[in-house]
């Protein structure tokens, strides 16, 4: 996936300016920045929900012109279909592809197991916890086998402990599926824990201030957050975000 000198203006205000970025297949990249850095705008441009004022976006060599299942998006709220069961939510994209019932069932079952929700396919979203809802939203996007999974503050509304669990879970999903992930967050600790590479955005307009390779082991558990190596990188990114507020 490649962003080529992306800019987005809203009237006379520049939300994003000259963003160029390449994400390699299978990579996990986090974008951090204070509020007003245009992080979410950037994701909706890649998702195709909004068009850049300048520059081009290409995914798998094809220019992005609108939304599509090859660029799955997960919102902070999950945005589940509240009248559909967990299973029906996950099957949404497959039904659009006219997959028959058996094909749908196998895929939905596999992804529900992958996100740890086996046996809950008959539940309605209102019967789930916040963390479970985000797992459904992630499964619903992944079942479409996206080239890149876009996550917009997916754990922003969760309590701390659930958030920790979800981070470990997301690392596992990334390893199991090999999906390219581009995630936006304001939580620096989260970004450093999850990503191989962290991009720091400036605010008003959002520009790329810095790019850091996170030099931490591939296997990460919650104890890593107490290691000096982790804390050092975290402090470094923290300072960068503050310096560009």
């Amino acid at each position: 996936m490649r962003l080529n000198a992306i800019g987005r203006d809203f009237g006379s205000t520049k939300a994003l300016e000259n963003i160029s970025l390449e994400v390699r297949p299978g990579e996990f990249v986090c974008i951090v920045g204070a509020s007003g850095s245009g992080k979410s705008t950037l994701l909706s441009l890649i998702a195709g929900l909004d068009a850049p004022s300048t520059g081009t976006i290409t995914v798998d060599g094809a220019r992005v012109h609108g939304p599509g299942p090859e660029r799955g998006l997960v919102f902070q709220t999950g945005a589940l279909f509240p009248w559909k069961t967990v299973g029906e939510n996950v099957a949404f994209g497959l039904r659009l592809l006219r997959l028959n019932r058996a094909e749908r069932r196998d895929r939905v079952a596999w992804y529900l197991a992958e996100v740890g929700l086996r046996g809950l396919e008959g539940r309605l979203p209102k019967e789930l916890s916040g963390g479970q809802r985000q797992r459904v939203a992630i499964a619903r996007a992944l079942v479409c086998e996206p080239s890149v999974l876009l996550l917009d503050e997916p754990f922003g509304a969760l309590d701390c402990q659930t958030k920790d669990d979800m981070q470990v879970f997301l690392r596992q999903v990334w390893k199991d599926t090999g999906t390219t992930i581009l995630m936006v967050t304001h939580d620096v600790e989260e970004a450093v824990f999850l990503a191989q590479r962290v991009i720091v955005l400036t605010t008003k307009p959002g520009r790329i201030a810095a790019e850091l390779d996170v030099d931490l082991p591939g296997h990460r558990d919650l104890l890593l957050k107490r290691e000096p190596d982790f804390l050092k990188i975290r402090a470094e990114v923290d300072d960068l975000v503050r310096a560009h507020m």
């Binding site: 909706s44 998702a47 195709g48 929900l49 609108g66 939304p67 599509g68 299942p69 660029r71 799955g72 998006l73 919102f75 709220t77 945005a79 279909f81 509240p82 009248w83 559909k84 949404f92 994209g93 659009l96 592809l97 309605l124 979203p125 209102k126 939203a137 619903r140 996007a141 479409c144």
Partner: protein, 280 residues
């Protein structure tokens, strides 16, 4: 407090603690099941008791306030002769057509208005104006246009319901969260699919709410239409009874109208709650 310098005002006064409120008078406090049924019974029993009492006193003439006994007798007589059933059916058939047409027109129109801002901009002014024209004022015009047959009554119901239901449907559809539409698009749904598979299912309980409210309007209007020009129906029966000062008959019919309305409301509410059971 020496550390917080620069404060030149006295400490804030404290209000005395609020008095304990009895549970039945608490703002938004749910009522226990038994109390709820008691309250419901009271709401029917008090007016009914008052009616018994005043008519038993005999200070009001029979032609003004018939006794519950006379009313029951008049109602029973109409029911036994089959006249009541005929009238109920005549009014119901008009509603079936008039309200049916109004729903078939207004729901799709409202969905389009709610879903497409362009359609909304194009229709909102005219529908908004038409909604304010009192439907009953159309009766003379409809009689001129369509005569005093069935079509003028059906037309009145359509006019009285269609504009309200269109705008209420549009309002429900408008508040379908944008994120649901966006996420559907990122899962590969096209415009038409988003409308059919996301917007409409999400709005359905609210659309049924609008239909339920407007059904009451239709039920009112059909009686109004029959009061003025008809040869059958509950409204017609009321105006006939008026000519012969049969207040007991009028009372009986009013009670029947109220009971039918209540029954339909309960059924519509059950349907709506079943369809909207996914709501938090």
């Amino acid at each position: 407090m020496t550390s917080l310098t620069g404060r030149r005002w006295a400490p804030l006064p404290r209000r005395r603690p609020a008095r304990q409120v009895p549970p039945l008078l608490g703002l938004g406090v749910p009522v226990p099941k038994t109390s709820r049924w008691v309250l419901r019974a009271v709401s029917v029993a008090v007016p009914l008791g008052l009616w018994f009492f005043v008519s038993a006193l005999g200070v009001v003439g029979k032609e003004f306030l018939p006794s519950p006994g006379d009313t029951w007798a008049a109602g029973w007589e109409m029911a036994r002769s089959g006249q009541l059933a005929d009238d109920v059916w005549a009014s119901s058939a008009r509603i079936l057509y008039g309200f049916g047409i109004a729903v078939v027109v207004s729901v799709p129109l409202g969905i389009l208005m709610g879903a497409f801002p362009s359609v909304h901009a194009g229709l909102e002014p005219i529908v908004g104006i038409l909604r304010y024209l009192p439907a009953a004022a159309f009766i003379p015009l409809l009689v001129i246009w369509l005569g005093i047959g069935e079509s003028s009554k059906v037309a009145l119901l359509v006019i009285g319901v269609v504009f309200f239901n269109t705008l209420m449907t549009a309002d429900v559809v408008k508040v379908v969260p944008k994120e649901l539409r966006q996420v559907s698009a990122t899962l590969g749904a096209r415009q038409g699919e988003i409308l059919r598979k996301v917007v409409v299912p999400y709005a359905l309980p609210g659309i049924l709410d609008a239909i339920r409210v407007n059904f009451a309007v239709a039920w009112n209007l059909v009686v109004v239409a029959e009061l003025i020009a008809a040869e059958s129906g509950l409204g017609y029966r009321i105006s006939r009874a008026q000519r012969f000062l049969q207040s007991d008959k009028i009372f009986a019919i009013l009670i029947v109208i109220g009971l039918i309305g209540l029954a339909i409301d309960v059924v519509l509410r059950l349907v709506r709650d079943r369809i909207g059971r996914w709501q938090p």
